[in-house]
Symmetry: D3
Amino acid sequence: MYSVNVRDHFMIAHSFRGEVFGPAQRLHGATYVVDLELRRAELDADGVVVDIALAAELLRSVLAQFNLRNLDEDADFKGRNTTTEFMARVIFDRVAVRIAAGELGPHAGGLLAMRVRLNESHVAWAAYEAAL
Amino acid sequence: MYSVNVRDHFMIAHSFRGEVFGPAQRLHGATYVVDLELRRAELDADGVVVDIALAAELLRSVLAQFNLRNLDEDADFKGRNTTTEFMARVIFDRVAVRIAAGELGPHAGGLLAMRVRLNESHVAWAAYEAAL
Amino acid sequence: MYSVNVRDHFMIAHSFRGEVFGPAQRLHGATYVVDLELRRAELDADGVVVDIALAAELLRSVLAQFNLRNLDEDADFKGRNTTTEFMARVIFDRVAVRIAAGELGPHAGGLLAMRVRLNESHVAWAAYEAAL
Amino acid sequence: MYSVNVRDHFMIAHSFRGEVFGPAQRLHGATYVVDLELRRAELDADGVVVDIALAAELLRSVLAQFNLRNLDEDADFKGRNTTTEFMARVIFDRVAVRIAAGELGPHAGGLLAMRVRLNESHVAWAAYEAAL
Amino acid sequence: MYSVNVRDHFMIAHSFRGEVFGPAQRLHGATYVVDLELRRAELDADGVVVDIALAAELLRSVLAQFNLRNLDEDADFKGRNTTTEFMARVIFDRVAVRIAAGELGPHAGGLLAMRVRLNESHVAWAAYEAAL
Amino acid sequence: MYSVNVRDHFMIAHSFRGEVFGPAQRLHGATYVVDLELRRAELDADGVVVDIALAAELLRSVLAQFNLRNLDEDADFKGRNTTTEFMARVIFDRVAVRIAAGELGPHAGGLLAMRVRLNESHVAWAAYEAAL
């Protein structure tokens, strides 16, 4: 199995609901350094898993939907805790839809799986992965 | 599949037995930077894989059993080489027992797998992973 | 010249005022991974620059004043932009006051200089340094 | 499952053919920081996945075939794009042959799988993994 | 003293002349992860060392002059070894000229010094720093 | 001012004397990832600060004096605490003597200063720097 990873980041404010979160129930924020990993069984005719420039652009475009915003004000997340693992899934889903729509080019049909990892500090990160 | 990772470290002395270890048969030591990764299929009602504060506390508590000690003097390791991979398994087992005992809270029953990685330098690390 | 560095982090929400900040004028947030470096010309009688455990506690205590908060609501920062470089200076000043008050122990009088660096992502950081 | 990883690097020149590569069709180069991960189900009698010194030597020896060279002039890669993912596979195959030839010692027969990851910058990497 | 750092990278081919370089006399290449650090004594009216977006753009623009090229074919470097430390200086000089020309905006006059560091692998880097 | 850095590591056991060290008074150990930085005002005729291969060899040779040993048994350190900052100085001094003896080659006379940094974990490091 081959895999390719591109990295970018976004910075957001948010707050959590639930006693388990303690002081993180207050409005605070995070920098998320995001790793987007794409997997396929064989390389395409050009010798790549995916056009890495397109993958980087797609990741940047999806992260721009959240970057420099307060997630508490995003209608899509109403009533949800925008935890690191939750956001990994949200980004996975939004990237997956756009891959399905062809944004990674004609050869991207061979992609089998994807992993989105959000690094929130030097001591913590979360990820979501699934088949495509 | 979701995953969450917390990082901590411990510092120990030890020596190895067996010609394969060469000069590492002498008493020496290591800093192990430890990554504890927990995986589950669905988030709990709070939107998390696990209470990350509890996970960090549990990891710290298990590492404290070894931190700033000479592993050669630990009766539990008598006759064993406390290699990086061996210690990854030891930590896995001790964390797993305490997860089973409920230390990560009532929702941690959904955890499916765990990975413990010990980074011993900028050029070497070892890990142990298994289902919970 | 000797130096010692301890690392910790904090997570905050804030917004900036001024056209130069573009979309960062919106409420957003950041994880700051903080490096606190202390310098002195000679080691003390124990052979250290400073009691590193006390230094780590002091850093944690100062960061706790901001951690998991919205800096826009902090009266101390009214009318100021809490940029990365500004916060590096704020932390420098608060740590310096407590060093002067003796929180790093009796031998810390030999400290000559300090540097506070805030890493805000994998591609950007800012710092403030000065004599003590 | 246990795993052990060793890290080394190599520096090469190359160029790519195909419009998808844009300006990377020009002769350019890369530093690849290589992670070689070996996996097995149980530790050997010495308590290790593999003799890590032998693994590091083997990796260094394979990378020396490419290090400080222009891959465009390597007859083995004639007509192929030496992309990061392609080179990950090449290194996997060459290491695998030498493991099969016994270069990792008598206990290395227990190795089940291997992963070769090439880190090409702070924002991109590629890997190839398979059973041994 | 305040400082701000932005990071980017470029990938080049080159070769060196001189026996001291050994096998690096062959055509090879490198990824350089570049850290551009700017220093000033006081923050500007917005509370920053420099408009970090402008600094990142300027760095990217200067690196684009070399990125994905063979430095041996660059007329500016004829008869010179494009070592890591040499390239650090070249980038310093080109960025400095553009800062002097006002590309970092009206407040950048307060900048006192700059450091350019080129990270060429996980075990080696070089830098050039000077007053502006 | 130019600078060049090479990185290597060593692993040791030791214990400390003095109440300030708390549990670190027990025999324990550490991995030290070492950064050796050399500085000079102008590049030599080859365009380098120093022959980086010689610098890496020299660092490795000095670290080999300590690697995989118990520092408590080293007669040179009798009655001293082998703290991270102390060891940074020891390595500085031993490298400096060998630079003075010509081990970095005929052009190394231009070196002005050196910094030795020992990274002991992901959250702590210490350094010693001085003129040569």
